[in-house]
Symmetry: C3
């Protein structure tokens, strides 16, 4: 086990998701979660996933709010797989306050949050399909926790690294996190060099060739 | 008739739509308008609805802009039911200036506005499916005013209370507005107590049980 | 040839897209690009289009990033027709820096950009369907440059004027740009007069009739 997926790890914090995606591309891994976006501009997070699977409540049945927040370990990112449902919500201001008290790194929802104004005021990083106001109580329920969940076509396993910024949310499988981190660092160096050459007047095409830009996404281990 | 749906009423101003939604849930009423969002972060409104029904203009016919703004009473919220059409707009900067001059509380559109930059500068609260620039003239026309209109699966009647914030738009039927307001106040007290207990170190599960959190959405009159 | 579609032209800069749309409506031209929006609030641009057609890469083939930026002339707006694809991106921070160095006016994408945080920091005007993080490399490729492209139902030709603001993106065909500009100026004067009358207490209906507001969209050459 590596430091990269320990709860305390912040290795991927501050690295653009685009750079992480390019690193994963070199391994043939597509970790992007399509359609999810930051609740507020400038939000970012990185940390190991604590996964939750939600499911609809059959018509006529009742169901309480999901009880899980007390069990999420410090430093984790809550990942709620709610099948893209936008007619109700699975996260709000009380959970946000509880998450901050527990030292969580943020929340990612394949669905909606509510209390958007209050969450924005806390600065807690939240990524979702949008916000709405209807409670999930009686509409959806927690079916399983800490199991592999599927968001779009991407599987998220407990302990996988989740990273997010204004470009969206990406998942780094835990068993490649160290290799991905090394690749990210190579790409960052290359991109800084291209930018420096651009600023010194070199054409983009020449700068990309010089620094082997296109090699970094041809699914070969450069 | 109650003060809650008088034009001057501001009873629901400042109350989160999530809290209003939870109150309505206890009566089995779902007032949320799915997909509508604030034009700018931090916008909020509350007030009685002045409803307008729009319809498409048959191909080849012409039609003027809707003439209604001079008749909307002070303190009302304009609610435009435009069937979710996003290929043209039914609200812009001139209407915004006129609405401010008349002392209206805001506008809610099941469709698009235009002049987004100018509207944002006025601070006038506007909630819609998005913004675009094409005029509705010759494309859609005003079919009826102050009639019950349907947005998504929710019926909005003239005088119903409309409330909106960063989580979206919700409608409180006027005949339950007083009961809903009392229920909202109970929920607010409960949520403040839960938050206080969380801040004092109580686990969420315990705090929710202590304050009967889940009772408030089980469609029973607690 | 008119100054309006020369690379140096800024004639339409600062004019609201809604006003441009009303002018085009009087000629029966619909230039709006549905669904495209500013990456950040307050972004605006105007300038001649440099068009690029993208296409998907067949499964199993590889493809480099599109090489075009070195050839876009100063003062142009890059228009990328990527068929509305949102599963990968065709613009990022390096291209943004190169575009600023070359003195371009902005970029319009029928698809997604990445590096949203970095682009927002530069203030470069970017309009797209959204942001994501996956590279377009190996997923889409540049098929043609400076050809007529279709975005939604609107054709954009090289040299057409593109204008954009918080209400979205609109295209002014180059062969009507001068007439459209004159019509825009007439509409601006009319709207200012209506606004002044509103502020002096005139009802909207009266002000619109007085200044012949509805004449300006009845597809007749007033």
């Amino acid at each position: 086990m590596s430091a990269f997926y320990y709860p305390g790890s912040e290795a991927f914090k501050g690295i653009p998701t685009a750079c992480i995606s390019d690193a994963l591309d070199t391994f043939g891994i597509n970790g992007g979660l399509e359609g999810l976006r930051a609740l507020g501009s400038g939000m970012a997070l990185a940390g190991p996933a604590y996964t939750l699977q939600y499911e609809p409540v059959p018509e006529g049945e009742t169901a309480s709010a999901g009880e899980f927040i007390d069990e999420v370990p410090e430093g984790h990112v809550v990942v709620i797989a709610n099948g893209g449902r936008q007619y109700c919500t699975v996260w709000g201001d009380l959970l946000t306050h509880a998450a901050k008290i527990r030292g969580l790194r943020g929340t990612v929802i394949d669905g909606c949050c509510r209390d958007a104004t209050a969450i924005l005021q806390t600065g807690y990083p939240l990524f979702s399909l949008g916000s709405y106001m209807k409670s999930g109580k009686n509409r959806v329920r927690l079916a399983a926790r800490q199991v592999p969940v599927t968001i779009g076509s991407t599987v998220v396993r407990p302990g996988d690294i989740v990273a997010a910024d204004d470009s969206g949310v990406i998942v780094i499988p835990k068993d490649v996190s160290e290799q991905a981190y090394r690749r990210v660092k190579e790409i960052e160096v290359m991109e800084e060099r291209i930018l420096l050459d651009l600023q010194n007047g070199m054409p983009m095409k020449e700068a990309r060739i010089k620094h082997r830009y296109n090699q970094y996404a041809l699914r070969v281990n450069v």
